[in-house]
Each structure stands twice: as structure tokens, then as C-alpha cells.
């Protein structure tokens, strides 16, 4: 802070900053409380007073969550589905965004309108017909079945199109002069120039898919095929009233996305601002 700013520092401004800080701590407190409770032995969790730090920290709850539930299988399912949806969505959206941005072809406007229109459709209203479709394809209780309806992310096509629009035309013209093919232009010039966007969109797409609840919940009936987000809510009986074990399962389910966010903080916020800033 420089001298000028220090001089202008005022009492009321300081109060607002302090309030913001206190508010932030209170805001995150339930998260802290959940994590800390998951590290307490059963006897400590249900004490009638507040204990901000476990007296005897233990990993017992985590071990029992890992051994008494199928959390391992749920992890594998979640990773497979989230990676699959992300890879497919990013790939097909990039190809489509490139075509709409750089190529002239019949039906281009109609396709663009279809993408814009899909913004308006509440995907959760389509659950009945998604279920019928996936059941008819014989994909209930399968990774492909969980993935299929989650491949609809119009935002990603639109973000790609806008980024490809911004690449200067000179690059394209030079490449055409060199007899590069369209695929060469896309994969050797346009895609590397937009790696940042691809990374950002991939991370948020992964987080969205990992967190999806309604569709994975509907399309899976067998416990071992559940994603972790669904799994941890369906096994209350297995835990009985062992709150600490439920919380440790919750921590395990939230950990990958929380870590992804903490590592790629800037990319995540960038991608979210990008995808929300799109106004059609």
C-alpha cells in the first residue's frame, strides 16, 4: 500500500473490510465444521457443546466409509463419467464451434439457432424422455447411459465460436496459401491458440459433471453403478446414525472438485465468467 492510499485509509472503510472478513469466515464455517466433525470419533461428535478441534483426531470414519460402502466403485464411476463427458463435450463442441465460426455451409444459421434455443430448455424437464430413450437403448445402469443426456452444453460451443471468431484472419489466409487442410488449420493453429479456453472449459465441465445429481440418480438403480454424488446420499441405512461417517463420505465426494478449484482457481473463475457472460 503506498503513502497516498495509506493517507486515504479511513475508519469506515476499515469497518467494511473487517465485516467482509468476519462474514467470509462465518460463510465458510459450515464447511470447516463438516470436515472437523469427520475427524472426530463417534463419542466426540455427539457432545452437547461446541468443540472447534477434535480432542483425539482420527481417520477411523474415513476407513469405515471406505470399507463398509462401495465408495471405491462410485469413485471409479464418477471419474469415468466426468472424464468421458468432458472429453466428448469439449471435442464435439470445439469442432462445431470451429465450423460455425470459420466455414460457410448450408444450415449454418439454423444450427446456430438450435444451439441458442437449447439454452432455454430446462434439461430437468426432459428427464422422462431421457429415461425412455436411455432405457430403450439398454443403457440404464451403464456409464454411457449416465453420460448421454449430460453431453448437452450449448455454452461451450458458443464460447469456442467466439474465441475462433477473434483469431485474426491473416493466420487462416497464410495457412490456406500453404495448402493446409481445414483439419490442419484447426488442430495446428486455432486449437493451440486457444489452449487456455480449452483448459478452462474442461475444468468447469468436469466439475459440472462430477456434481450432477438428478440424472445420475434416475439412470442408475444398482448401487455399484452409482456415481459418488448419488451414492453418498443413498446409504444412510448403512451408516445408521453415524454422522461422522456420513461427513467423511461427503468430504471424499467433494475433495476432487474442491482440489480442482483450488489448483486452477483462476481458470475456473475465468471459465465461469466467460460462460455466464454469453448473452446469446
Amino acid at each position: 500500500m503506498n503513502v497516498m492510499a495509506a493517507q486515504r485509509w479511513d475508519f469506515r472503510g476499515g469497518i467494511i473490510t473487517a465485516l467482509t472478513l468476519v462474514w467470509a469466515i462465518l460463510w465458510a464455517f459450515p464447511l470447516y465444521w463438516g470436515v472437523i466433525s469427520s475427524l472426530k470419533p463417534d463419542s466426540e461428535v455427539v457432545r452437547p457443546y461446541i468443540e472447534l478441534w477434535p480432542e483425539t483426531p482420527t481417520l477411523e470414519n474415513y476407513i469405515s466409509a471406505l470399507t463398509t460402502t462401495q465408495i471405491g466403485a462410485w469413485y471409479i464411476n464418477s471419474v469415468a463419467v466426468a472424464v468421458g463427458v468432458t472429453a466428448i463435450t469439449i471435442f464435439i463442441s470445439m469442432l462445431c464451434g470451429y465450423a460455425i465460426s470459420q466455414l460457410r455451409f448450408p444450415g449454418r444459421t439454423a444450427l446456430w439457432w438450435l444451439i441458442l434455443a437449447s439454452f432455454m430448455v430446462p434439461i430437468s424437464a426432459l428427464i422422462i424422455n431421457h429415461f425412455v430413450l436411455v432405457a430403450n437403448l439398454g443403457l440404464i445402469n451403464s456409464w454411457a447411459g449416465i453420460m448421454l443426456p449430460q453431453l448437452i452444453h450449448p455454452v461451450i460451443v458458443i464460447v469456442y465460436k467466439q474465441f475462433f471468431d477473434q483469431v485474426p484472419k491473416d493466420f487462416r489466409e497464410a495457412a490456406v496459401m500453404d495448402n493446409a487442410s481445414e483439419f490442419g488449420i484447426l488442430f495446428k493453429i486455432y486449437m493451440p491458440m486457444n489452449w487456455g479456453v480449452t483448459t478452462a472449459l474442461s475444468i468447469v465441465c468436469f466439475i459440472w459433471t462430477w456434481n450432477a445429481f438428478l440424472w445420475p440418480f434416475l439412470s442408475v438403480t444398482r448401487t455399484e453403478m452409482m456415481t459418488i454424488t448419488v451414492g453418498i446420499t443413498q446409504v444412510n441405512d448403512a451408516f445408521g446414525v453415524y454422522y461422522a461417517r456420513q461427513l467423511s463420505a461427503a468430504v471424499l465426494a467433494g475433495l476432487p472438485v474442491a482440489l480442482a478449484y483450488l489448483f486452477f482457481q483462476r481458470r475456473v473463475t475465468e471459465a465461469i465468467t466467460l460462460s455466464a457472460g454469453i448473452k446469446g
Binding site: 500500500m1 472503510g13 467494511i16 473490510t17 465485516l19 467482509t20 462474514w23 467470509a24 469466515i25 460463510w27 465458510a28 459450515p30 464447511l31 465444521w33 466428448i88 464435439i92 462445431c96 465450423a99 466455414l103 455451409f105 449454418r108 444450427l111 437449447s118 439454452f119 430448455v121 430446462p122 430437468s124 424437464a125 428427464i127 422422462i128 429415461f131 432405457a135 448421454l148 443426456p149 448437452i152 481445414e182 483439419f183 484447426l186 462430477w210 456434481n211 445429481f213 454424488t229 446420499t233 454422522y243 461427513l247 461427503a250 468430504v251 465426494a253 467433494g254 472438485v257 474442491a258 480442482a260 478449484y261 483450488l262 475456473v268 473463475t269 465461469i272 465468467t273 455466464a276 448473452k279
Partner: protein, 294 residues
Amino acid sequence: MLRNFRTERLVALVLVAPFLAVYLLAFVYPTVQMFRISFTDAPLIGAGRWVGLDNYLRLDNDPIFRRAVWNTAYFVLMTVVPGTLIALLIALGVSRLKGRFQALVLALFFLPYILPVSVVYLIWDWTLNFQFGIAMHVLDWLGIPRVPVFKSRVWFLPAVAGVTIWWTAGFSILLFLAGLRSIPAEIYEAAALDSSTRWTTFRRITWPLLWPITSLVFTIQLILQLKIFDQVYLFSIGGRPNDNMVLVYYVFQKAFQQNQGGRAAAVAVTLFVLVVVVSVLQFQLLRFAERRRR
């Protein structure tokens, strides 16, 4: 030249085909089917008889549907306006901070948004647990009798709304921060030279310049909250879902628990129409705000 055009079309077709295939299969086809079966008495899986508008007419006298509409509206009312205002306040506070410190405080506010709904559910179910929840200790201190929040008819939706604001605020905060950053510093410097008070500066400069973002956040929230299901379903476990009924929950109940695909589709179409109307209004509102700004 002519040859080039033809290859261009062919390449475009190849590039667009995978995306189009997914969209036709998972988006266009289900949407068309949703409308079609809403006019039949089909079960969840299988064909049904054409019944015309019967499914829609029945909704008019359906008390649970009415409750679903009312609860959805109530929920939207409790989340959208307060959620937008809280996010704006937080963004104003966070925007004063600098560098790493700002990133840290933002992370505290933003982290809940990143978590899956079931984690949010377990954490709040624990925090507000009637017997052992930390919130109940606070009520004890304050001398307020404990409330079994998620088993109470009166407190269920307000509590879920509060949890939802906590969960989703991070997204709105980000948008507001982006908006605040795009306001040029010179404008504030000019205001400071005029020795304008903090409140006047906010009312005359920040608020009008932030209006397009506010309306964007507001309508994104509106569309999102109309589709509320996950939290209501999870917090209703072991409770009384029919009292807490919302529109998507009703679609789920009709289709998957009562095996009435046609009736469920009529509810889904109603929701669909609601969301489309709100989206169109949003578009108009944004355009209006844009024009007013110029």
C-alpha cells in the same frame, strides 16, 4: 474456386456431424417426445392413448400440482432477490480487498458453489441437526427453542432457500466482481475529487453501471431456481415430500413413482413454458437495460 466451396461444405459437415448427432438424439428428440406424450395417457415406458388436453385440464384441479406451483414460486421469491442482493453486498466487500488476500476471501465465499449438492446436503443436515447440530447450540445460547428445521412445514422451504443461497452465491459474486472490475477507475477518481460520499458514489455510479450485470444475475437465478429439485428431494428424505412439493419433484413423482408418463410430461411442459417465458423476458430486459445505458 467452385471445388473449394464443395470441400468446405464437406469438411463442415464432418465437423458438425458428431455434435449434431448428440443434439438430435439427446435434445431435439426428447423435447419433441415430451410434448407428444403429454397428450397421451402413457405410462413411464410404453405407448399410450391420445387423450388431447386431458392431462392439462386435470392439473387445474390437482391440489398437489397447485402446491408444487405455489411452493416453486415461494422458493423463487425467497432465493432470487435476497440471493442477488447478498451476492452484490459480498462482491462490494471483496472488491475492496487486494491481491492474494482478495483471492483467499473470494475462495471462502466461492467454495460452496463448487461442491456437489449431496455434500451441501450432508453438511447442512449436520449443521442444523436437531439434536447435535451446531446451529442448535447457537439457538440455545440465544434462548430460542430448537426447531427441527427440515421436518417443519413452516421452516422447510425457507431453510432450503437459505442453504441454496449459501450454495449458489459464489457464481453471482463472480459475475458482480467482473462487473465491478470493468468500471473504469477514472470515474471513481472524479467522484472522489467532487468529494462525493460513499453512498452517493454507489447510488450514482456503481449501481447504474452494474445494472446490466444485476439483471443478468437476477434472471440466471430465476431460471435456475424454477428448476429446483435436488435440495428439496434430499432434505425431504424421511420427511413429508408432498408438503414440500415443487414442479420438478412432481414430474419425478408422477413419472418415476406413480408410473404416469403422460401426466408427468404435462407438468414438464408447464415448467418448460414457464422457463421459456422467463428467458424471453430476460432477453428483453437486458436489451432494455443496454439501450438505457447508451
